[in-house]
Symmetry: C2
């Protein structure tokens, strides 16, 4: 019984059964242990979920140091996306909770470092980081089925056409499908373009 083993079993449980299905009791059952034993290594359910979120965050690779600024930013964004898509059912833990630990600060350092090194004033660097992060959070939440598509892939083409709303009906074929990858690249380009030069 170690914290590590508990967190990994927790992640596996989320992957298999979804976030709603996670309970201390079920996790203990999976580990063949009394539910209360978990509390010796993890500070309650919330801390367990934070710990699982940190596993996802820690999987973001550091970009190659020889890349230029735009390449670095883009590779961090893609690494973030890949880490979330590796565990789509756990991703909302990262996208939805405020993590307090150092692990959560590492990606910030990875973004801010190159921006400052390139000559961005700290205030603008933080501003840019926040705008990009808002977009990433939003698209990934949608991609991972945790955010509204507002008439997105879940809905039937026929329903949209028959909605009685003229613009919705006219755009129905495009509302009914969503190429997440294309949406991601499209939005990321906008954000990185907007970042500009120092």
């Amino acid at each position: 019984m170690t914290r590590e083993r508990i967190l990994l079993a927790g992640l596996a449980l989320v992957d298999e059964a979804g976030l709603d299905a996670v309970s201390m009791r079920k996790l203990a059952r999976r580990l063949g242990v009394d539910p209360m034993s978990l509390y010796n290594h993890v500070d309650g359910k919330d801390a367990l979920l934070d710990g699982i979120a940190e596993i996802l965050l820690a999987a973001i690779p550091t970009p190659p140091p020889e890349a230029d600024l735009r390449g670095t930013m883009s590779s961090l964004a893609h690494g973030f996306r890949a880490a979330m898509l590796d565990h789509p059912r756990a991703a909302p833990l990262v996208l939805t909770r405020r993590l307090a630990s150092m692990t959560a600060l590492a990606p910030v350092e990875a973004v801010l470092g190159p921006l400052l090194a390139a000559g961005f004033p700290p205030e603008r660097a933080v501003h840019g980081l926040r705008a990009v992060l808002a977009f990433l959070t939003g698209t990934l939440m949608r991609e991972v089925e945790a955010a509204p598509t507002f008439g997105g892939s879940a809905r039937r083409l026929a329903d949209l056409s028959a909605s009685g709303l003229p613009a919705v009906a006219a755009a129905a074929p495009y509302l009914a499908v969503c190429d997440h990858e294309a949406e991601f690249e499209f939005g990321l380009r906008i954000m990185l373009d907007a970042l500009g030069e120092p």
Copy 2:
């Protein structure tokens, strides 16, 4: 006992006690009724939460018809934000669930209508809608304390300076505070600029 009365009481409960505190039993207690009575008007807890989300969505005002395209888009975005900030603790219900009802489609119509009228091809209109929506979702989640700030307002300036991460420490004064309104306007301008002309 009507569905309407139940949903409004549910929203009031969320406003006062937060999402985690909502339970069918507590809501029934607040209404002076047996928990099971609620099931005669609402299809279970999930439907209750969907219904509350729809109350927020319905509060977005229709933009004045004489506005130009950019004005219309901007006013819808601001209306969306205002509706969420009116009920910050309930906002994650809108930002985080996929609503299936017609109410959820009305805002889509409100955005798509002007875009198509201005001559945008449907595919590009949907593309633009999705990018803007991703950004809105992300910023509002953060604003409403449901999304990561990654070293944002929750964290102490001193912690950031002492983190041992050089870029984080250098930008600490800006990471420690977040002007949500300014971030919102900054990002919205980027997205609306990127939308371009038909």
